[in-house]
Structure formats: C-alpha cells, structure tokens
Assembly symmetry: C2
Homo-oligomer: 516 residues x 2
Amino acid sequence: MYLTQLLHRQLQQQPDAVMTVNGDRARTVRESAQRIARLAGALQGLGVSRGEHIGILALNSDRYHEYLLAVPWADAVVAPVNIRWSPAEIIYSLKDASVKCLLVDDVFIPMIPALQQACPELATIIFCGDGPTPTGAHNYEELVTQGPAVEDARRGGDDVFGIFYTGGTTGTPKGVMLSHTNVMVSNLGMLASADTDDAGGVAVLTAPMFHMAAVGCWITYLMTDAKIIFAPGFDPVSVVTMIDKYKVTSIMLVPTMLQYVLEAATAMGTRLPSLKYLTYGASAMPNALLLKTLALIDGVKLLQAFGMTELSPVATLLTWQDHQDPEIMFSSGRAPINCEVKVVDLEDNEVPIGDVGEVVVKGSNVMVGYLNKPEATAEALRGGWMHTGDIGYMTERGYLFVVDRLKDMIITGGENVYSVEVENALASHPAVASVAVIAIPSGQWGEAVHAAVILAPGQSVTDEELRAYCGEQIARYKVPRTIEFRDAFPLSGAGKILKREIRKEYQELASDGTAR
Amino acid sequence: MYLTQLLHRQLQQQPDAVMTVNGDRARTVRESAQRIARLAGALQGLGVSRGEHIGILALNSDRYHEYLLAVPWADAVVAPVNIRWSPAEIIYSLKDASVKCLLVDDVFIPMIPALQQACPELATIIFCGDGPTPTGAHNYEELVTQGPAVEDARRGGDDVFGIFYTGGTTGTPKGVMLSHTNVMVSNLGMLASADTDDAGGVAVLTAPMFHMAAVGCWITYLMTDAKIIFAPGFDPVSVVTMIDKYKVTSIMLVPTMLQYVLEAATAMGTRLPSLKYLTYGASAMPNALLLKTLALIDGVKLLQAFGMTELSPVATLLTWQDHQDPEIMFSSGRAPINCEVKVVDLEDNEVPIGDVGEVVVKGSNVMVGYLNKPEATAEALRGGWMHTGDIGYMTERGYLFVVDRLKDMIITGGENVYSVEVENALASHPAVASVAVIAIPSGQWGEAVHAAVILAPGQSVTDEELRAYCGEQIARYKVPRTIEFRDAFPLSGAGKILKREIRKEYQELASDGTAR
C-alpha cells in the first residue's frame, strides 16, 4: 500500500469533486493531483533524492496536504516540524533528520536565518506562504506552475513515509519512522473496525498537521473521499463558524480543543447540527467533558482513538455504540481489527483481567523504529511488541482502561498512586478548571503527591478545602499533600499538559537541597 | 498483521461467544483457541518445521477452520488441496508444494495410498474425519486432546500464510503464495470500503474452503466476530434450511450456487428473511440472475467482490448502494481503499476511459508470487502490477466493466469478439439454461465463434433458431457459427465453466486435421 494510491483512487472515481478548501481557495481532485505531480517534479528538479527527508514548518493549509502527497510521489520522505517547539528543539529535529529542503510559511519565515545558521545542511527553502517570497527562497506556486508533472514513484509498503517527532512530554525528542504500510493499515483498520458511514462527507482539519493524530485523520478523510477544510490554527469561534458554514460532518478534536469549541458553540447559540462524527484522542478525556459533549451536540456519534505516534497512531477504539454503555464509555475502547493489544507486567507476561500493567501493541501499525536511535527502538519494541508506556487494565470483554502514563505514576510510601485518578477527583470540583498531578521528591515518602490547579473563572477555593473534597472520594494516601494554584500550564503540540516541565521545577528545587 | 491476531482479538473481546457450528458441534471462541493451540503443539511434536507447507484434503468443517489457524500458530504454511481436481492434479500440487504432512477427511481417505505412492515425501497423514482412523494415520481429535498448548508463533507480515492453487480454468496449476499481509489487507480493505454492518452476525460457509474466495470470506467473518456455520458441501436445500434455522445474516455464493439456492428457496416457500448481506463473485454474474436475486430476497444487500486468488482475492467491489443504480449494477464495481486498479494496453500504458484493455492491480493484496515459478511470477507482476488476464473498461467514475478473460477473447476474421457478450445474448433466450462461448480453430477465419449450450428443463430450440435470435441482438460476426447442445459442463472448484476443457476437444480435432 502507498499513500498516493488514495489520490489515484479519487482521481479515478470523483475527479471533479472538491478535495481541499483553504479560505477562498477550493480545488478539485484533478487540480490537486496535477499540482502534486508538478510539485513532485519541481522537488526532483531541485535535486531531491530517493528517500530524502523533506521538512515543513507551517500552519495547516491545502499546501500542507499537497506536500504530504507530493513528497512520496517524488519518492522522498516527509518530516513535518513541530510548530510548537522552541527553536532549539526544531534545530535538533532538523539536524537529526538531516533535512536539506524545508517548506516554510509566512508565520515561520522569520526563524529561517537562525535555523540555517545552526543547520548548515539546510540549503533549500521553499516559501509556501502567501506574502512576498524572501530572498534566497523558492516560491511554492512558481514551483507548482513550472514543475514538470512527473509519474508517481508509488513509494510504498515498508518504505518510510514520514519522520514524526515525538517525546515532547516525556523526554528527548525522537523521530518516529512510519512506513506507508504503517499509516495505511492503522487508518484502514480504524475504518474497518468502527461502524461509520461518512463517505463523501465534509471534514475540517484543525489539529496541527505536523502531529500524527492530525495526519491519521487526514488519511481517513482521503480514504472516505471527504472534502477537507483546512484551518490554519485553532480558534474555537472560527471552528464553530466553519462547521456551520461548510456543514462539516466529521471533525477530530483533542479534549482541550473540544472544551473550547463547546463553549464557543454554546455562546454562539448553535448545536452544530451538521456534525455526524466527532473523533477525540491524543490526551485523556475528562469524564465530565464527555458527558457535556453528548448533551450539547445533538445526535453526534463519538469515536475515541487512543494511541500514539509510534502506532500510526491508533491502539484502541471506542466506537459510538460503546459510548452508549455507561460501564465502558469512559474506557479507551478495544483493539481494532488490525492489531493486538495486551497488558503486561514488568517481565512482559500478560497480567490477569483487571490487573494493572503496561499496555503493549503488536501489528503492522507499529513503527519501523526511532531514527538514529537503535537502542531506544530495541527498548520500545522488545519482544516484537510496542511498549506504550501507558498503564491500564483490561476488562473481560477486552475494554482497556488507561490509568496513567508509566512515568506519571507516583510511588508514595510504597503505594502506587495513578495521577489520573487524583486528577479526576480534583477536576470534579466546580471551582477547578484544569489540574495536573505529579510526584515531587519527598524525604519522608520517597515521592509525594502534588497537584497544580487552574481555577475556573470567578471561582475560589483553598488548598485545604480541595484536600478535604478529595478525601471524600479517594483514599487518604492518594490525596495531594501539596496543592499550588497556577494561571496556565505548559502544553505540548497536541495540547497535552507537559507534566515533565512542572516536575522539573521541583526536581531542581530538590537538587538545591530545598525539598520538603 | 497476522491471521491469528483475529483469534486473539475474539478471545479478548468475546471468549464465550459461539465461534463455529458444524452439525451438532458448537464451539466457543475459547474452546476453538484452546484446540488450535494444542493442534499447533501436536503439529510441532510431529516434526513440522518453520515455514513447512501443511496440506488439507477435506470438505468444509470446523476442523478446516482450526487447521487454517493452527498451522500459522505453529509457524507453518497452509496448502489447501483442490478437492475437485483429478488425482493427477492433486499429486502435482502436493509434489510442487513438497507437502510432507496432510490432513484428510472421510471422503478423501481412499485416495491416500495412491497419493503416498506418487509422493514419497508425504509421510504424515492426519485423519480429520469422524469415522474410524485408517492404519498409519494420526487421529485429529487425539492430537488435539494430547497436544501441548503452545504459544502462538505469531507468524505474520510478509511471511507466507498459504499456497493456494489456481489456474485450473486457463492452464497449468500454479501455487499462489499469499502472505499474511496480503490476506489481511485485502479483507480489511473490503470491510473498510463497503458500508456493511454485520458485527456479531451469523455466516454460513458453503463455498469450498480450499478456494481463496471462501478463505477470504472466512477471514471477514473472523474480523466481524461472526458465528460461522460450516456446510460440508453445497446442497441448495440444506443451505436454505441452514439459513432459516440459524438466522444466517451473511453468505457468499458464486453465481452458479446462487441460482440453485434461489430455486430451492422458491420451492420451499421462503424468502430468506434473515439474510442481510449476500456476497457474490468468483465468476461472471448473469444480469438476469442479479435481478432475480433482488426480487426474491427481500431487503438483502448485495456485494460483488471481483478478483482472483492472486489478489487475496479482491480487486474491485460493487457495494450494495451501487446495486441500486441501473447504470452500474452490472459492472464489477470500483477499486477498494487498499489497492489501485487500472486498464492498460499491451504496452502497459493506461488506456482512455471507455477503452478496452487488460485489468492490472497494484497494492499490498498482490501475491508474493507463484511457487517455484519465477518466470510466471515475473510475467504476471511485470512493472509491479498484477496482470489479471481480464479485459474490461473503466467508466468516468471508476466503475470497471469486465468484458472477457484475455484468453477467452475470440479473434475471428480480424475482429475481436468477447465471449461474455455472446453468452449474455444467448442466455437471454428462455430455452437456454447455461452457455459457454469459445473460439475454435478455423481455416477460413483463424478462429470461429462456437457456443456450447445447456437447455432449460423441458425446453427445446434449434441451433438455427438460436443463431437467428442472436443476430437480432449482436453484430453478425459475433453470432456463433456453430452451436452444440450438451447435458453438462466441466466445472472448476469455484463453479466456473472450464472453457479450456471444451476448447481442448476442438483443438484435438484440429490437430487431427479434422477442423472445419
């Protein structure tokens, strides 16, 4: 299988259908395919070689879509850059992937001199924005206009499709190598496993396209012949406006985004009647938000895709039918048809039903490996199974409940405390808008449970009141020993709270000898 | 991906559901999995080595199902034997695949001495029938009872799953090597592409399980968690009885079988109300039969899967929605999500829409190759595309109309005549039950159009009347120059008429110098 086959299929089956919408620009499948064939020809003309990594540092657009197809068409590999990263992290990833050719839009063009100074290999810049083309850069539209339409290389199978950087939340960035088979199987499996019927629908892509969660959705939209609306960034009011204007039928939102979209929709007096399917994932879904979503959007069918970049990206699915069952609607769902999922102990033995352990996955959606990191690859894929670093348990019908990230689990006085459980207890308090629970070093307990809390607008509560409230819901040893109030959390590209960053402050305190 | 993962998934998600029904025997997923793990252990105990080809010569049964899963579980390769073949052909395939271990049921056990005499390598016979175990054979149930339950080898990916023999209708038998990825992708793609919803349904498997069309259906039943009813052979009355008794929701029938099932259902006064999905394929569907099916089975959704063993087995799909459109309902449908399909000329250039050429396919469902036949493999897969040997044309919406087999096309007086077109003209005459049109050698025309006809019961017509009837519908040069009346046709394992056999008679006549 190869990603470009999805374009050939649409070209054969609906050449005159609108494929991409970007502001005022709408392009049919035929136009999109012609531009992609010419962009691929232009890339080859610029000296791009077989298997070379081509970067992109840009907001979502129809040109991002063309890039994702033109690069494999030219027999090269995509290497999208995380737009939320610091310049130092971006430089790390460009160097790690030996990127020589980078597409950049208006927003990120000011970074280029610094990037080129730090990455001597980075010789070719293609400006894919709408403003004036900076000196020394190639203009995207000129390349598309002047490039010769080349034959599709039909790069596919085990050949790498892309390098997707991950690890922002837990440690050093790692470039995840995903093959064409990986990304095709994961999304084919999702379509085959979930009973959805949105062929020829309308989708809006608002999650950032450097992230595999967004790329995965984009692939399913290509598979289902959808018209795709590209949103350059996430703005809840414009997302709501687009849904109503284009009669959007499918959307993927991470929980943080979903919360804002619901608030905006409520404020704007719309119940988003066109939405048939709402997919969520990429970070834990608060139970309250799930119930609120079902209450606020009439008749929407919810689909949870739990996974990670290394799984291209799906590990388990919670179907819309599953969302109707109160016993499982807060789970992460079950293994799709295309991969096997189990829960194992530290020796990789499967644990009994209901017991907690690490979630591992085997199947054709499991990554090829981490770029330039054979040891991390061997560690992650030991025994032929992807070790997700998530801890959870399985029910007797195969529903997975994820209780925490392995690295977020707190061991205090010899007891395991799952940060997610404590967060759920705190988040159910009406004054709490958002919460992150972490371990901080403790001389007495080894680790101590600590909560960082953002209050809801206009609300107030003391740490003692919150601790008392928690004590009514969870065991005493799980109640945070300390609570701090904040205005904001450091967030990852996918909208996950970066607990690592919060933890770091306390580790630095501890290494200063100032730990409590 | 690996086939056994479908068993692990059901074991995790519905261990106590009934998985197989075979006469009075019903087994849950858990029982089936335990038996498979022990059969795999027994096979390894008998000395079966990694990648060894294990044969089976048997009618459909729950044990056939266990064999198909236990063999990869034991890290070996299935090599089902065509039960319709002559002893000479069976011997050819056993020798070609170097089969040392063969499962045989009651029906075929009398053939064993002859097979063992011709195949000295064939040392191990496992009797999987219900009668007394012949001397020298292992008893299947004893192996399952006494075998140690071993860990699944999880053989998968590009490893070969099975050797499926084909070529019966067009020439020398060829062993098609299909990988786990091949068979998983083809069927995953079918589920993802067709909007079907039969999760947890009931399926009856009546097509012979040595054939990839049946194995493909069986895999989709495993993917959709169906209860599978095994029919040992095809008997229309018992198929109808089983459909009504078990409230069967899904069935696959080749057109020949479908015709008999409809007649039996009509005679038995049932409209098969439980049937939700009826899949057909493996040979051309007469238009009249398609209309009759829609008229006789209320609310059934038809799905056509057009393909061949080499495609694991699906090339194109005609969805149930497509069947509602009179302009495309007689086509073979469109490319599914998982492969690319095009029509090319003799130089492998894609032909314009509407032009006739050979159908070629590219994707992860394309076979690994023909066993021991590197030249035939290279020829079939030239340029990376599977050359199907079918000729057809594509519409502007990507619907494929297959007009003939390349080898069945007749060139008479310089004109191309597609045998299917002539057959459709003849089959529309009320006196005609079945027809096969072939080329016979002709001194005057190079080839001449010849029709072999089976009359409907109680009907009579002369060859002159039929030729006149044809002449009203198709061009004069397409009208058969000669017509013969027969009582029966030689049929392949999939129920296809073996034109090769009919043609052979005339070629022999020609080589005797007796051609007309």
